[in-house]
Symmetry: C2
Subunit: 339 residues, 2 copies
Amino acid sequence: MDYTVVALDAMGGDNAPSEMVKGAVDAVNARNDIKVILVGKEDIINKELSEYTYNKEQVQIKNATEVIETAEHPVAAIKRKKDSSMVVGLHLVKDGAAEAFVSAGNSGALLTGGLGIVGRIRGIERAPFGTLFPVKSGVALLADSGANVDCRPSHLVQFAKMGSIYMEKVVGIKNPRVAIVNVGAEEEKGNALVKETMPLLKECEDINFIGSIEARNIPNGDADVIICDGFVGNVILKLYEGLASTLVSVIKGGLMSTLKSKIGAALALPALKKTLKAFDASEYGGAPLLGLKGLVVKTHGSAKAGEVRNTIFQCVTFKEQRINELIRDYIVIDKKKED
Amino acid sequence: MDYTVVALDAMGGDNAPSEMVKGAVDAVNARNDIKVILVGKEDIINKELSEYTYNKEQVQIKNATEVIETAEHPVAAIKRKKDSSMVVGLHLVKDGAAEAFVSAGNSGALLTGGLGIVGRIRGIERAPFGTLFPVKSGVALLADSGANVDCRPSHLVQFAKMGSIYMEKVVGIKNPRVAIVNVGAEEEKGNALVKETMPLLKECEDINFIGSIEARNIPNGDADVIICDGFVGNVILKLYEGLASTLVSVIKGGLMSTLKSKIGAALALPALKKTLKAFDASEYGGAPLLGLKGLVVKTHGSAKAGEVRNTIFQCVTFKEQRINELIRDYIVIDKKKED
């Protein structure tokens, strides 16, 4: 059997190790083409694993004695904790022992470690987090959702190209519409970064660039790949999560405010829950760091087994679709054009 | 009677002139301390006015033969259309004939005209739009919500001070909590602008600066005055509007999906509508350009009579609380400290 080998940080995230281990078991029980290497404290992982039944050949443990905490300084943590689950897991990718590394731990450390240990594809200037999130019409990709808070125009152009490949090959949207986040649709609108990036994106013949997108049109799904610097991207993603959860709580409060509405709520709730589930960001798996030599994927800090399992599946698609090879080819063509 | 005189752009916005004129009439019929000068095409305004009963002394018309359209280039429009309702209305403020000018028209033109015709208070480097928006705990102020897409640290510090005055004096929140939009709460987080602004804000003894706010915590109301550059502010405000409306439509769709949920929806709808109304940004009136020598207020392009009326009331509070004098004093003290 030809497995896709995914290393999983068993110690990272709010619900580690139990939900990480459960997600790994769920993944291998659902598909026989996946092998998961659980990285972390061997005794703890073994104890968790003892609760499940699964094909032993598909799950392996790689011992790592340290854990990088969420609040730790990313650069210092990666430097000092050489035997942390994150550093050990990233080395598995670098050394070719795993095809992907998935972690729900410290995002900054994963970024630092991903760049330092796995490394960028030659020609890629910055690696953005590419995050899938729910929109009315389905799903859209945000790049950069938080890795690079200060960007140059050439970075955004690469985000657009890599995001376009990802959306077409992993999510399966043909000729995805790429748009840049802006404060208006008119030609003269934008901050310095957007104004400088706009003509460069217009010149890209190999992406379907549709121009500016105002933030108000993002939830409606007016673009498939949404490009911005990591500061703006983080604001968009976090506000999305915060506003959705606040609105749901406000709506629940409203439904509970009168006896009549309480009865109504009881009748309506199952259908409502189903609808809101489609707007739950955690359903869409993890965010890969696009443009690295191997696959490094961040899942939500609050990820539970279901999201972990989905993220592992996503890694298989990423590998099968040869995303990194496509990105590499893309950049090589670009560089040749410049010469 | 000592009136507060508010000039209103009768020709600006999607629902002009009818909703503008109706809003003006509603305002003077509700309060006898307001006089509204309707600025625009006299014959059209007169025709609209003929439908209402009101105290003639409280409504005046100032003829202006031109109209600046929404899609026009702001700088060119203000320069060329000297007899537009916007330019004429701004001159009323500059000349002291009105204490405020309210418009639902072209935001960029209002900003250009406000700066060029009314002018900034001496010492104010940039004038931000200060927009009130709904949060779970009530209302918060966003500055800058879109006037200055590229900012320097000193601009953000002034936004914080002016926003703090506005929130305390106009909205009535004692010692308002001021926070800067950031990608995390930790000390080392932020893009270059935020990192440079942070120590300056910490030094401000006269505001209640509470540090960073992540976008996810904005809807919950974790700060009263939210500071950022106009690009990020515009993204926040527009995404707020877009996501709220998309979620409401998704929820409605969910409620209509089964017969049981349809019955539930019918019972729950009145309470739900009331709750969601509290989350409707248009309830909170207009966004003043803070730091000008006179009061210039932008209302939503889609403003209807109710919002126009609320914005006119807001102008009265702004005048009564002597906001511009407070801002002027603040800046003078600041400048003295520097010497």
